[in-house]
């Protein structure tokens, strides 16, 4: 075939060598192996044409490539497509298997073996297996699979040397004879057995590459593979009646509503303490006030203003109130970065501990009625950190319908941490009844908007189907690595948006359009919301940075009712300019415009109703 070299296009930055690819289910400790093999010189880069990051490094004369955690090789989502392409290009596969979840993991193992690639299996988490009173006959497992199986406990560095020695023994394993015959026949028209298998399993992308039709045999092959896994597990696995370990019990308690809801409440409270109080207060106080406002701003002003006047157009673009060198870095580095790091770190911790999927299961019922499923709790939690970051995360949701609903709810009813800080300050001066009305109004809008969207939007949302991994103490190195990767990705995507936003606002301000909009809005704020005319300015500022807006309210003399109404409008009001840009980027112009205008309407109508009721 003329295009057979294309298979190897997943080469790594000109590095030569055989490709050793790590593959495994999510949360099996794959990255520990990767780090062990490659050391610290690792390159993390975006897989071409996707948002998925792939790590690559060197081990002896191998190029080692990590893949996203997958349950099987196919193309149901972007991560799988990336994993599939990397695996198709592999010369040798190190398959990391969670020994505690042997039944689940061996499906992928069998599939890799069916691909005809040399495979070596690292049977990981052996220490946990013993704690749970389970034994695996490794000799028999090796014999049944036909590939080397090395017991490891990677977190404790056990079994790693044996694994390295076994790389030379990696072999093509035992295939189902009937399937092997079919693969052989199909492979006459493809470059490899692996691709032939993909075509037999109805992978449309691979079939298209060869101009072939899919075989329509996926279900049949999958079921046969499952049966053979079941058979293997029954032969090699022995359970004693030792009873469930503490981790298993803890996992149960997290799910049962009676214990799970209090545990979730405590977790959220701790998150609030860590992020809302420590990071947003102490850390940001230092990074934003002391470093950025105290040292950075005077420095940059003293450097630029002798050359370019701050009052000139260019000057206002660069170092003005919303300047590229003033507002953008001060906002992103001083305020957002500590919060983003804090949130990603906690999410990585929740994810690696196995708690996150259980939270998703626990809140699933509530979110289903809003047209989402339990998974949407991830962007919702992140939204309290930064709506921009959360809107990017809506990518993990299953359908376009869910992505739109989640985006709307985030923009509408989730106040980000920057805004929450100022809101808390203002609201603490109100009587308790107004605080209650505020919370009730925002929560009602969240629930009503979700329920209505779920009713009126065409199509169907996907349902929760999630593997609940074992409860484990996360490894610090892993948590930090994930946090770093996600933070870098956020910065890469968000910084340009913030810059464009800042330029846009600077232009509006310089051309006096900003003042015009404020004047135009004043009658609405006065007559509909019964607020002082200056609040229009605060609302406009809220578009630029939500906390600017809320902070702008502090200086306006208002009654308690007026403070309440303005806070409600401000919270429901469009998110900040960066979030708006992400909405446009993720959802496209038409949907984004509708979301944007819709949030204006909802904010003013809700504010109006409350202003006339109280």
């Amino acid at each position: 075939m003329s295009n057979c070299h294309d298979i190897n296009k997943v080469s790594y930055k000109g590095m030569k060598g055989k490709k050793l690819v790590l593959a495994g289910n999510p949360n099996v400790g794959k990255s520990v192996f990767f780090n062990y093999l490659t050391g610290i010189y690792v390159d993390v880069s975006n897989f071409p044409g996707t948002t998925v990051d792939i790590s690559a490094g060197k081990y002896k004369n191998y190029i080692v490539m990590d893949t996203p955690g997958i349950y099987g090789v196919s193309s149901f989502n972007e991560e799988e497509t990336v994993a599939r392409d990397v695996i198709l290009g592999a010369d040798l596969i190190l398959n990391v298997v969670d020994s505690v979840h042997l039944d689940r993991d061996l499906f992928l193992t069998k599939q890799l073996i069916d691909m005809g690639k040399p495979v070596i299996v690292a049977l990981n988490m052996m220490d946990e297996l013993e704690q749970n009173g389970i034994t695996i006959d490794i000799g028999m497992l090796e014999e049944l699979l036909g590939v080397p199986v090395i017991p490891t406990a990677a977190a404790k560095k056990t079994g790693m040397e044996a694994l390295e020695k076994a790389f030379f023994q990696a072999s093509q394993g035992n295939r189902d004879p009937k399937l092997a015959a079919m693969i052989k026949q199909t492979a006459e028209n493809t470059c490899s057995d692996a691709e032939a298998l993909m075509i037999l399993e109805d992978d449309e992308i691979i079939a298209e590459r060869y101009g072939m039709k899919t075989a329509g045999l996926r279900d049949e092959i999958y079921i046969e593979r499952r049966r053979s896994v079941e058979d293997i597990v029954n032969k090699v696995l022995k359970e004693s009646n030792k009873g469930a370990s503490f981790g298993v019990l803890l996992g149960r308690w997290m799910l049962k509503p009676v214990t799970g809801i209090p545990m979730l409440a405590v977790t959220l409270y701790l998150m609030y303490k860590v992020i809302g109080v420590f990071v947003a207060g102490t850390v940001v106080g230092f990074t934003e006030e002391t470093i950025m406002e105290g040292i950075y701003r005077p420095l940059v002003l003293s450097l630029v203003s002798p050359v370019i006047s701050e009052s000139s157009f260019i000057g206002s673009l660069l170092i003005g109130e919303f300047g590229i060198f003033t507002m953008v870095p001060i906002y992103i580095l001083g305020l957002l970065l500590p919060l983003i790091i804090g949130f990603y770190m906690l999410m990585a911790f929740l994810e690696d501990s196995g708690y996150l999927p259980r939270i998703a299961a626990l809140v699933d019922r509530m979110l289903v009625s809003l047209g989402l499923n339990g998974k949407a709790i991830i962007p919702i939690i992140l939204g309290f950190g930064c709506v921009t970051m959360a809107t990017m995360t809506t990518r993990i949701l299953g359908t376009k319908r869910e992505k739109i609903i989640a985006t709307i709810l985030l923009g509408l009813a989730i106040p980000c941490s920057a805004q929450l800080g100022v809101i808390m300050g203002l609201i603490s001066e109100l009587d308790a009844i107004y605080v209650l009305i505020y919370a009730a109004a925002i929560f009602s809008v969240f629930v009503i908007a979700g329920t209505v969207l779920n009713k009126v939007m065409p199509g169907e949302s996907s349902q929760l189907l999630i593997d609940l991994p074992a409860i484990r103490l996360p490894m610090l190195g892993n948590v930090l690595r994930k946090t770093f990767q996600k933070t870098m990705m956020f910065l890469k995507e968000a910084v340009p948006l913030f810059i464009i936003g800042a330029v846009f606002i600077s232009v509006l301000q310089y051309t006096n359009v900003l003042i015009y909009i404020q004047q135009w809005m004043s009658p609405v704020t006065e007559s509909l919301l019964r607020l002082p005319p200056e609040t229009a300015t605060a609302f406009i500022m809220g578009i630029i940075r939500r906390d600017f807006g809320a902070a702008g309210l502090t200086s306006i003399a208002m009654t308690q009712q007026q403070v309440l109404v303005s806070l409600i409008v401000m919270t429901l009001f469009v998110p900040c300019i960066a979030a708006i840009m992400v909405i446009f980027k993720e959802r496209g112009t038409r949907d984004a415009l509708a979301i944007w205008l819709g949030s204006f309407v909802v904010a003013f109508v809700t504010g109006g109703i409350i202003a006339w009721l109280i």
């Binding site: 349950y71 039944d103 499952r226 299961a361 019922r365 999630i466 593997d467």
Partner: protein, 72 residues
């Protein structure tokens, strides 16, 4: 009966999965026609938790209605 009718603590075998997309997704995490599970937890109005040895999977209520099972 369908999976959403299963009681907590009951063992059952999966007979049929009616939803094609679900079928392909589910089989990879171990849920397939013929597989035997224990219902280890049932969240009120929410997901059903299936257990096989150490593995646990949460299945949304709506999906559970598409899965035909028989008690054993």
């Amino acid at each position: 009966m369908t999976l959403d009718k299963v009681k907590r603590g009951n063992r059952f075998r999966i007979r049929r999965i009616d939803n094609k997309d679900l079928k392909t997704q589910a089989i990879r995490i171990g849920i397939y026609e013929g597989a035997v599970f224990l219902c280890s937890e049932k969240l009120p109005g929410g997901p059903i938790i299936l257990q096989n040895r150490m593995q646990e999977v949460a299945v949304g209520r709506g999906l559970a209605e598409d899965i035909e099972v028989e008690g054993i």
